[in-house]
Subunit: 361 residues, 4 copies
């Protein structure tokens, strides 16, 4: 069934396969009057773009996005915004060898059995290439949110076994890992070099933070802000876990330790990660994502073909040794889209709320 | 905005406050012909019911559910199923003292600022009491799924600092903790006694598993099965983290280690937790939840009142020292509702798929 | 599939069969702070109630509605509003004779083949009894809209062959026909008496008008205000046609005649019925509905039974000789629900619109 | 709010302005395995294309559609289908004169006040040009439905004052009016010539019919087949009225006359137009649409400018003297999209229904 739309008021619907002619999206529900240019979208697309460092796939896609509607004389009109990115660097022949076989840990097997047929080139729809459109749409949300004083940013908090403490936002965009601590970059480079020699891949952890979120976003009980954020983040390729605030660390915490006490000057801690009862508290919204290691490695793996016969599969082609490296802009996009949708949803129902909402932080 | 409906084809919409006259739900989209009685729902409601052990709140609610529509002569008719549970044991006076103040880590503060007013009695809509209706609706999904050979079960995998390895499904329902290892129950009881003496609360980890899931459930790219499951599980009160399969352990795994290889006899492992590319693989669907410690403890905590003045809050009333203890049936319900919705969604689009879908496991 | 929810932001989900224990609804998305009592709903329920005149079914239902949630200390809280009406006057035996046969022009045949089984008592879910919940939910919307200066009213504009010109709103509620011209009531009574003697039924036309609608409601291109209004009105039992403004008379009109010219003092006419390009123009919103004659008449009719054998069917039981007579409050409810939903939808996206919207009328 | 998506399971989301760079659509939820080429879509696009006769606008658009995703090796894959049509023949200067003024009966006034700004070129998003994408998406639905034995066709049943009785489907596509009676075409041509001399426009009536519809499509009570069809048809530009079956003629009918009696050989009449209780009866689905006269005429009309000053407006540019002339393929598309969505929705919930559904007709 149709599952390619995200959001309820600010909706993003996407299409496109890894090796098809183009990727596209329709952003519907964007408020009118927002100044918007293709450059606004290109900035984040470039942060995600493949081939920008030796630690990502060498497929070279300019990912030039075109705005085809919804913007007139430089500002949004309130009508749907059509976005298009042409695919340019395709080497479908790389994939002919896996036409009739399922790559281990890939979606080949499930797509084949769900739909009865599949576009096997580069994983088709299941390719992470699809995330380019999430980033393009997310950039629209990020710009609108920024005008409301809401800033969405992310960084890599762990690469394989290497945990990285947050030091500063400065320089996060100046290194290929989105590492928040310049002193750790060399260590990450060394690890990636060894990984390449091992012809293997590895997982990663990404942290996303939204500052300036007002109190009140989220629609309990099912469309809680944290639940919809988990939906958005878990929908990113390779993500296997999502935490809000302290996440799994909460299990061993005691109530006296976890509860974020309040004073007239604000909250004294943020174990909750900015969400109470599914509604934003005005504190920074904090989420963590776990990404699995890239499934495409050049080590031979056991699998079966479409007829059920045993085969050995070696995944050629050009792949990221760690999909997490490029995941930061994608995670930011999904958090921005979730917040944008909820900002509009909250506004719809609560225009009459006269109570002041002082920001405690 | 309306956020009290879960699902797209098999939808559950709920209402009800902790101390209102009743809780209710409308289950829409249930296929006709399903034999259904109130006893089918009561079984799971009783598993969740408060006051059933000394380790849960002593509020005594029979939670007797009535089916008001959608069932005729013992079977579902395809029309919406109305469910109702009257609240019987309310002590609203317990809450008058927090009428004008915000309990730390509760939804008091966010509800007050989102809506401008709130039903403060027992947390009103934000109370976990709301989950009774999830369990009632989930029971309908569980029965339908069971007839399709899909079994949804859960257990407690960690209580505070105590990790519990899965031993057997036998006896999970025979102890108040849903503990899968009878030899560990005494240890859990001792821990809970100490917790009571400490007047504190603690978090927990729940694991939910669905066996017999067919290949093909899930609607990429946004309505992936894992994404919607994360949405459903994260929407449960107190849940702060969700994992699919190996979850956060994937971060440090290598691709050669994580990938689940296949042979004609089936998968050789299940690190993925039964989902590949957002679509069920036919392996057991496995998810883990992290629940935070109960916010309601009798230790005094710093907070503010509705006017922003500093106050000390002691949460009286009858509360669960560990909300995780009763969370297992709720988690099962959300997984069942997610699978039910996706079973129907998959069926809608893929009736023409002729490819056989051999179960690999 | 689930089809029992109306609206996107202000949603109404209903359940209940004609001869089941109760009817219910959940109104989700109502803004907080709206003063609301059961009496507010009862007023419209009484206008629709059966047995209130000799020209409607003699089934006597008090239709006493209970508010089970979402209202605290007399005002809405922003959480879902649960509504319940118990069925009291049921004579199921009246229907045992049509258990295995399909009444001509009824939904018996289609329900039976769609679902494979049906609750045949009084038509089950297909009974117009279901509209009681539309009226109850609509009353909430009407009250909120009234506070925004929007008034939704309706009247009968034709009974069978008798067309009724609008004279005045005064007295519309003082006669059983919702006739807008007191001088025509005797004529309608005479017609109904003859209809009774003929043991027949007849159709009717209802006109609904909303005054005070602001400019800007409606979400092109698919969720245009007129399109959603048509959806809502056509979803009422027995409705076979919907017109906006001049409706079918537009076919023979010329552009020079139809176009509503504007001056600084307002529009010079309202052929459009208050909608331009799917968006409200600020003029009165006008819609007309055509209702078919009641299918239940005591004249014998040819039909088949569930096995396909020919049978003669005489519909006993207590029925309205003209379903249109009680349709006015229902039509008002659907227009109010549509406007309420679109008021919230417009508000969500256009909070930033600074342009003044002077009311032209 | 986002209102540019039609359908729930088979969804069509569109974008594009009259004078923007392109029009586009995403068709999500199309079952896999459907053979599909651009030629399948082009056929209907050509039937709707402007400039194809002297009785339509002379704007010359090839309306060449491209399929950008969702189709692999000639068949659909189950992933979203991206569609794109580039705009080629634009004369924006034609519209500079109405930049600051509102054309009577156009959406200029409502768009301006809803969004605070508007793309005035050719009506921007409110232009009927948008319907090209409905036709392209509808062609996909029509092809799938045809493989299920469901055929959707339409014709013009009235042009201004000239009512046209249906004679035969043969030749409907061979004349510019979609006239179902070749003997009446000369009369229509004469009327159009006079209309041109009068520098005026006129309305029209279109009839759409679906043959081969199975019993059981439609999801009461709100998503009834007739209600959703009314939604789809009323969402077409210029449509002011929708009838199902006998429509407004039902008002004066008696129950004994209207009810469609049944015999083992089928229904004896089809006053209902193929829908009973909101569910398809297996008879032909019949709907009628009323389209208003084109608002763009070269006769001067009174209006106001954006500042509220009185102005005289003459609408230049290239316009259809009767928008109804090209409306037949659009109406077919909306009926096909509605049926397609409901075919999937019915299939989702009723796969278990074992009862045979013999076609009565």
């Amino acid at each position: 069934m149709s599952g390619n739309t995200f959001g309820k008021l600010f909706t993003v619907t996407t299409f496109g396969e890894s090796h098809g002619p183009a990727l596209g999206a329709i952003v519907d529900g964007c408020p009118p009057g927002l100044p918007l240019t293709e450059a606004d979208l290109q900035r984040d697309l470039d942060r995600r773009r493949p081939g920008s460092s030796r630690y990502t796939t060498q497929r070279r896609e300019p990912d030039q996005v075109r705005i085809l509607s919804g913007v007139f004389e430089g500002v949004t009109t309130g009508t749907p915004i059509g976005l298009l990115i042409e695919n340019t660097d395709q080497r479908s022949k790389d994939y002919s060898n896996i036409k009739d076989r399922f790559r281990p840990a890939h979606a080949d097997y499930t797509y084949h059995h769900k739909y009865g047929l599949r576009d096997y080139r580069g994983g088709g729809r299941s390719s992470a290439r699809e995330t380019a459109m999430r980033v393009a749409a997310g950039a629209i949300a990020k710009k609108y949110l920024a005008m409301q004083g809401i800033q969405v940013r992310g960084y890599m908090s762990q690469l394989g076994p290497i945990a990285i403490d947050f030091k500063s936002w400065d320089g996060v965009d100046d290194n290929p890992f989105f590492c928040p601590d310049p002193d750790r970059i060399a260590e990450l480079e060394t690890y990636m070099e060894q990984l390449r020699r091992d012809q293997d891949s590895v997982g990663a952890k990404i942290t996303v933070v939204a500052d300036g979120v007002p109190v009140g976003l989220g629609e309990p009980i099912f469309d809680r802000l944290d639940a919809e954020l988990a939906h958005g983040l878990m929908s990113i390729n390779a993500v296997k876990g999502v935490e809000i605030g302290d996440g799994f660390a909460c299990i061993a915490q005691r109530g006296s330790e976890h509860r974020d006490e309040m004073t007239p000057d604000g909250f004294l801690s943020n174990h909750a990660g900015g969400v109470l009862g599914g509604i934003s508290s005005g504190q920074p919204l904090i989420a963590h994502l776990a990404l699995k290691p890239t499934s495409s490695i050049t080590q031979s793996g056991r699998s079966i073909d479409v007829d059920g016969n045993p085969v050995e599969v070696i995944t050629k082609g050009r792949h990221d040794p760690c999909v997490g490296i490029r995941a930061t802009p994608i995670a930011e996009a999904m958090m921005a889209l979730t917040l944008m949708d909820h900002l509009l949803r909250h506004r719809a129902q609560n225009a009459d709320v006269s109570v002041a909402t002082p920001r405690l932080s």
